[in-house]
Amino acid sequence: MSGLERRRFDALVIGAGGAGLRAALSLARADAHVAVVSKVFPTRSHTVAAQGGINAALANVTADNWHWHMYDTVKGSDFLGDQDAIEYMCRAAAHLVVELEHAGIPFSRLPDGRIYQRPFGGQSQNFGGAQAARTCAAADRTGHALLHTLYQQNLRARTHFFDEYFAIDLLRDEQGYILGALVLEIETGELLVIEAKSTLIATGGAGQLFRTNTNAHINTGDGLAMVLRAGIPLEDMEFFQFHPTGIAGKGMLISEGVRGEGGYLVNGAGERFMERYAPKAHDLASRDVVSRAIYQEVAEGRGCGAQRDHVLLKLEHLGEEVIAKRLPGIREMVQTFLHVDPLHHPIPVYPTAHYTMGGIPTNRHGQVVVPLGAGEETIPGLYAIGECACVSVHGANRLGGNSLLDIVVFGRAAGNHIIEFLKEQRTHRPLPPESLERALERLQRWDRRGEGESVDGLRRALQETMERHCGVFRSEAVLLEGLSKVREIRDRLAHAILKDHSRIFNTARIEALELENLVELGIATLVSALGRTESRGAHSRIDYPERDDRHWLKHSLYYLEGERLEFKPVRLKPISVDTIPPAERVY
């Protein structure tokens, strides 16, 4: 063990999507010695897939201000979002979008040169009034432009990249300080101990939990599972956003921009059913509302197709020019994967798992926090930001355009906080050998040889179970059955064997480690969903159809040990304005 190579840094960032790169940039520019570990090349992180855009109340197209944006975000969150963090994010938005513009992001523009803003679901003027247009986009490449720009800036600032390294586990001492991580170089199979005065997790979401999902295959929630194994709880894991318009049976996202530009949904009878579910916002209602509406239409026999198992998204009326100009790529994607032309045929769509609202509990500085008495304490040296974190700005349901905003706002905030933390934390704390031993055991378990089940089929089994038992609508019976099935999958995985024990690019071993992460997150999601006996935002219980603010205006915290839940209050008090009180959520 002493033979392992060791490197020391001021800060270790795990994950090289937009959040990790934004934080790393602040750190490197402040002359901190920063390592970024990423299991794929940084520009292939999932941020690249964010097509929609980034919200900021610039008021370029409609009247707007940050307070309206805050109201929409709180309402969208079904009042589970922490209002101090939401105020912080919405107030920072305009400044950060301008900063991105100066960094070279090619935002789409109005004829007068100002940034174009498109209307997105859940956006309103004047606290729930007329539709606002708040989303800034660089055509359909906003995520890519952001990621590429941040990566280039990091290279210039001399951030040290460990590309194609997989993080095995966090390292910590008995006082609870996080001291870095054990990582594996995928190409060589060599291990590396990265000791760091501060560790920031920015590993993204866990969309691969579900069979039908919009996420890249890399989105296996590795950071969330590492945190669980370190004895830290995960917050609000029952809240998983299903995007209403995935290509039926495949999962790929048809951007909300299609409905923003005038596309609409119809059921098997050709009816525009969203008018019944959201009398004002229609097809632009918030994502959970539209997802449940589609689910319900199909469940009640009003679906389309031979199996009546989807609805249709119509955009033929928009015309070739609008589709080509405002929605580039949609037509060709449908043609490539479905072999039909959406100019002449509507697109079959169904809800698809999209975004992990829950995650690692943090405050608005990105510090990881756990309950202590009536309050909270921070985990020294540990930070989390972006989709893997739960700050919580999205609460029970995220609004479109708020995730890119989340990553740049809290990426910067965490970077700045770590810079201050490093002023106090001048030296590396000693790394206890037991912590390294535990991390190594996780890997060595896969060296076992002999008879045993292979890992291959288990990921599919997990995804199918989660989709069937923890999807858009849930009930106690269905969730309990799902939980027992996922526990069985966990037992099978514990006895599974790899056939390939080579070192070089052993992707089977990486996939086994990813699956271990997903299985723990599946159980976290199911237990949290069982615990919350109400319906709120993305969490819909058939047996508890109403929101119950008297009992459930609180966050859940799932602990791996004992698979138990605790709860903590929602932070209803914003920083400078009045609380936005819970009200019925109507669109």
Partner: protein, 86 residues
């Protein structure tokens, strides 16, 4: 893939990882092609496939969706990937 000690197996393992991209669409186009189409490619086409993987994700997606014409040396392999898309 059970004993990747040969050079070919090791290349395939490397290739599988490099086909893991930031977008589901690319995963769904590239990974099945590696399993079904890669072995049948001649050395020139294999070289072209590696070059394709060096492209940024949105550029790669544009080529594979037929939104932009691929440069000549890549057009055959792009057509082969598109033909296996299901």
């Amino acid at each position: 893939m059970s004993h990747p000690d040969t050079a070919a197996d090791s290349e395939l393992a490397r290739l599988r990882w490099r086909c893991r991209r930031g977008m589901l669409e690319l995963d769904l186009l590239l990974l099945p092609f590696v399993e079904r189409g890669w072995a049948g490619l001649d050395p020139t086409a294999k070289e072209a496939f590696w070059r394709l993987l060096d492209l940024p994700d949105p550029t790669l997606l544009e080529l594979l969706l037929g939104l932009a014409p691929p440069p000549d040396p890549l057009s055959d392999v792009v057509a082969a990937i598109r033909a296996t898309a299901a």
